[in-house]
């Protein structure tokens, strides 16, 4: 298979090209810019036939993608942090109109203080917009994620947009080997889109975004949730097919690493889970029975998988590179919520790590492992939420 050494951002751009996107509307923002620069380069060099719409803001970028997608085109965009926040209103329009747009969001901390470094709060703050969310651990997953995203999003029973999320700089600007299948094989995996409706069927004119009075609005919300439920099945199906075709399996919404006999596990999302896996290997040599659970899909949330996992471990250390002020880490909050009405109640502790690009290393994970072991032996939490890096 052809391999390229590319940054996470270039992996995203290549994936968009290989997915044969027809329309790209985007606005530059650090650390996302090199995605859309690369796409512009493909177009300038005649390597890709894409309608590129330069817009004056991210709000307009998403609006243009919505318009393009409503005509039946395959639309793609990319953004980060402040740009994603500016898109917020249009994100609801995309999911409400059931348009399978795919966007790469490069996780970047929200200001102030001004920051361009990694932090998941920007994308997690879009949790309730009706977008699916996939967190990539490495450049390969950024590439694979974009290809799978279109297939999942455009599935006739789904028709919802997907956000593929990668870390600022740790992935976006770091070069790594990425395996890119031949175009024919990708075309076979991802055939042209069959839209649910199109604005360009002039014999059957339609209005998109119609008024829904209190008599009708409710049912349409339910339909979005039904589509999300379908997406759980479709994600696994598409992930399995991807694995069979390209030898990288994504059939699990939570990737499990050495969890079978684990006493406790680390759970988290995105690039930090690569470091965690490394630490798990080292900790196992030191006699710790630990494992890692990487939550790939945050929306739809992998409830079943989490339950099965939680049933077999004594403790879960949830690593959140994000925070919901007035509450706790967002993944921690979700995971606790899922388990409340079940019989799986491991000890759960929330570690707030790496905000705004603070380094999170193997030695930090070892410290956390020591703390978790003590908690499990004592059978009682010291504290529920730990601001791990805080200078005291």
């Amino acid at each position: 298979m052809p391999k390229k050494v590319v940054s996470g951002n270039y992996a995203a751009a290549y994936a968009a090209k290989h997915a044969r996107v027809e329309v790209v509307a985007a606005y530059p923002i650090t650390p996302q810019t090199s995605i859309i620069e690369k796409i512009a380069e493909f177009i300038a060099n005649g390597e890709a036939e894409i309608q590129y719409v330069p817009v004056e803001s991210e709000h307009s970028a998403m609006a243009a993608c919505i318009g393009a997608s409503a005509t039946g085109a395959r639309a793609f965009t990319a953004t980060s942090a402040q740009g994603l926040a500016l898109m917020h209103e249009m994100l609801h329009w995309a999911s409400g109109a059931r348009l399978p747009i795919v966007m790469v969001n490069v996780n970047r901390a929200m200001a102030p203080p001004w920051s361009v470094w990694d932090d998941q709060t920007d994308s997690l703050a879009q949790r309730d917009t009706g977008w699916m969310q996939f967190y990539a651990e490495n450049n390969q997953e950024v590439y694979d994620g974009v290809l799978m995203a279109f297939k999942v999003a455009e599935h006739r029973k789904v028709n919802l947009p997907v956000m593929i999320i990668e870390s600022a700089f740790i992935l976006s600007h770091t070069y790594d080997i990425v395996d890119m299948p031949p175009q024919e094989e990708i075309d076979e995996f991802l055939p042209p889109r069959e839209p649910l409706y199109t604005l360009t069927d002039f014999d059957n004119p339609i209005a998109v975004g119609a008024l829904g009075t209190p008599a009708d609005y409710y049912e349409f919300r339910y339909k979005i949730e039904k589509a999300m439920e379908e997406a759980r099945r479709v994600i696994k199906e598409v992930g399995k097919e991807f694995g069979e075709k390209f030898r990288r399996d994504y059939s699990q919404m939570i990737e499990l690493y050495k969890t079978d006999d684990a006493e406790f596990i680390f759970m988290g999302m995105g690039s930090l889970m690569g470091t965690v896996k490394e630490a798990v290997d080292l900790l196992r040599k030191e006699g710790y029975k630990v494992g890692a659970a990487k939550v790939r899909w945050f929306r739809p949330f992998p409830k079943e998988e989490l339950y099965k996992l939680a049933k077999n471990v004594e403790g879960i250390a949830v690593l959140d590179r994000n925070f919901s002020f007035g509450q706790e880490g967002i993944l921690f909050n979700e995971a606790k919520g899922v388990l409340y009405n079940t019989d799986a109640h491991p000890i759960m502790k929330n570690y707030i790590v790496g905000l705004g690009g603070r380094d999170f290393t193997v030695s930090d994970i070892k410290t956390i492992a020591k703390n978790m072991k003590e908690i499990i032996e004592r059978g009682k939490l010291d504290r529920e939420i730990e601001w791990y890096h805080l200078k005291r």
Binding site: G96, A97, A207, V208, L211, D216, E219, K223
Partner: protein, 108 residues
């Protein structure tokens, strides 16, 4: 009350309103649910404008100001209000220089 200069009811009588009895009957996407060919915004009205042609000087200020627009100029030069879509905002009555339009509480 002069209710002759109105198109009220003609479109409405012909319209086939969309009624969904169960969630399965709904389309997957909220498309073309609310076009005004089947939904009549005049139903939202509390006050109805009534035109007194004996006071009308055909200045068409009401026609210019109506935000819908639900005021039409008839062949005889007087104005007609399309009550299917007039929301009863009262701007026409407020702007009319000869007070030829009055707002009357509509009995429903």
């Amino acid at each position: 009350m002069n209710t002759l200069n109105t198109l009220f009811g003609e479109k409405k009588a012909k319209a086939k309103k969309l009624v969904f009895k169960s969630v399965d009957e709904y389309p997957e996407v909220p498309l073309t649910l609310g076009t005004t060919l089947i939904n009549f915004t005049g139903d939202w009205r509390t006050f109805i404008p009534i035109v007194d042609e004996s006071k009308c000087v055909k200045c068409y200020i009401c026609w210019k100001f109506c935000p819908e627009p639900a005021i039409y100029i008839k062949e005889d030069g007087y104005v007609a209000i399309d009550y299917d879509y007039c929301k009863g905002c009262g701007i026409c009555a407020n702007e009319c220089p000869t007070k030829a339009i009055t707002m009357v509480r509509e009995e429903k």
